[in-house]
């Protein structure tokens, strides 16, 4: 009996330092999460004046925070938009004269990025199909050429656009974390996803069988979206007075954008007489 008691006493001693460690860890986490939220909190205060509206928003985010990362309801806070919001955000990216993050206002969504990139894939496939058959028809004087559609364009467009939209914001987010710039991952996905909406009208011009027009309508959205990304991300890189950080981040942004534009030009805007 006595020996049993002594073992219990030992266990208590062993557990105590563990508990201390756990407490330390939790405390650190708490502080870090506060640091991350500082930017968002200030924008919230600056932009929302109606008390009741902010209150309901906070309730919403609390209730969705109760779900775990693997639960589908966890993500519903990123789909908390209605039709008007989505249209306003798309307009804001096509005509970039107001800061996109001001528009989004601490409520970034993933609806737009996903469906806009899907739309871009389909529009690119459809228009390059039309352009290809049109060029075949125009080149063929006898009028009996049989044109076969190329379905690899669809899978190629899917891989290109989803890779661009999935990978580049992640890389930039890592860079921002490294240089301690306060930009959230979902904010970057939102920024990049809505940025792609410019390519939907541009892809329609791929139908025109003229390589000069193709170059114009690939370069124009490329330049506008480059300006749009610079205009929206620059205020954040300016905050940390590290020149190297902004050079690295913008080099990544512009290199990836140029590669995307080149791929579009070579693969989808190539059918000309």
């Amino acid at each position: 009996m006595e020996s049993n008691y002594s073992t219990i006493f030992d266990l208590d001693l062993e557990q105590n330092p563990e508990n201390k460690d756990k407490n330390d860890l939790e405390f650190q986490n708490f502080v870090m999460s506060n640091d991350e939220n500082i930017g968002k909190m200030t924008t919230n205060k600056a932009n929302t004046n109606i008390g009741s509206a902010t209150f309901t928003n906070m309730e919403d985010s609390n209730s969705s925070n109760n779900y775990s990362f693997w639960n589908i309801e966890y993500y519903s806070k990123y789909f908390n938009v209605d039709t008007k919001d989505v249209i306003e955000r798309i307009v804001c990216t096509i005509i970039p004269k107001e800061s996109f993050f001001n528009k989004v206002d601490a409520n970034p969504d993933l609806y737009g990025p996903f469906w806009i990139s899907t739309t871009v894939i389909m529009v690119l496939f459809v228009t390059s199909c039309i352009a290809n058959s049109l060029v075949t028809y125009l080149n063929d004087k006898k009028g009996n050429a049989k044109y076969n559609y190329d379905f690899s364009l669809l899978s190629f467009a899917t891989v290109t656009v989803y890779t661009y939209i999935g990978l580049i914001p992640l890389v930039i987010w890592f860079l921002c974390k490294y240089f301690s710039i306060a930009l959230g991952l979902i904010d970057l996905y939102c920024l990049y996803g809505y940025g792609l909406s410019l390519w939907i009208p541009a892809a329609v011009f791929a139908i025109l069988p003229n390589s000069l027009l193709h170059t114009i309508f690939v370069l124009l959205p490329g330049i506008i979206s480059g300006y749009y990304l610079y205009y929206n991300i620059y205020p954040y890189t300016k905050q940390c007075d590290n020149n190297f950080a902004s050079i690295v981040i913008f080099a990544t942004i512009f290199t990836s954008l140029i590669i995307l534009v080149l791929i579009f030009k070579i693969v989808f805007f190539k059918f000309s007489v």
């Binding site: 589908i72 993500y75 519903s76 990123y78 789909f79 938009v81 209605d82 039709t83 008007k84 989505v86 609806y111 996903f114 469906w115 899907t118 739309t119 389909m122 496939f125 459809v126 199909c129 076969n148 559609y149 190329d150 379905f151 690899s152 669809l154 899978s155």
Partner: protein
């Protein structure tokens, strides 16, 4: 061929009936749902008992039909693309409407989206026998509008008045890409 989610009519002993009867009853259920999609103003509760046999049959028919007249070296790819678009597309649309706040169950939504391909499957078989571009195009447009109209009728959720367009747009995109593939193949 026992439907996964289909309710039996009352409690009846199906243990010692011929296999043919069981098969026929399930096929009849599938056929009733397909007719429901073609004439969407009938008994809307029919599609509440979901099954995945109907969507599978329709999807296979469409994929085989499209790969049949695809360019020679691409028939396997066309089959794969059609299959992936139909199943992954239906799943993504369902998740999307759930995230926007829809209340419909996952498989029921997939069942409805799958059954609503039926007009496009019919059109794809009709165009096999018609070799005239404009006529084909008209048929495909009619089938596309029919599919979208039927699926929206079944899937509209009253609680999502502000987000209705956001739910409908992916459905539109889904049938649009299927219709486009039917059109060009």
């Amino acid at each position: 061929m026992t439907g996964i989610g289909s309710n039996r009519q009352g409690i009846q002993d199906t243990l010692d009936e011929p296999v043919l009867d069981t098969l026929l009853r399930d096929l009849n259920n599938v056929w009733a749902k397909m007719k429901q999609v073609l004439i969407p103003t009938g008994n809307e509760n029919l599609l509440r008992d979901w099954d995945l046999w109907g969507p599978l049959i329709l999807c296979m028919t469409l994929a085989i039909r499209l790969s049949f007249s695809a360019p020679e070296n691409q028939s396997a790819m066309v089959f794969t693309i059609t299959f992936i678009i139909i199943w992954c597309g239906a799943a993504v649309i369902t998740v999307n409407s759930k995230l926007l706040g829809g209340k419909m169950s996952f498989f029921q939504s997939i069942c409805i989206l799958g059954y609503c391909i039926f007009p496009l499957t019919i059109v794809s078989i009709i165009t096999l026998f018609i070799d005239f571009f404009i006529l084909d195009l008209i048929f495909v447009i009619v089938g596309f509008v029919w599919s979208v109209y039927a699926s929206i009728g079944f899937l509209t959720d009253v609680s999502l008045s502000q987000k209705k367009t956001l739910v409908i747009y992916p459905i539109f995109l889904f049938y649009f890409i299927i219709a486009w593939m039917v059109n060009i193949v």
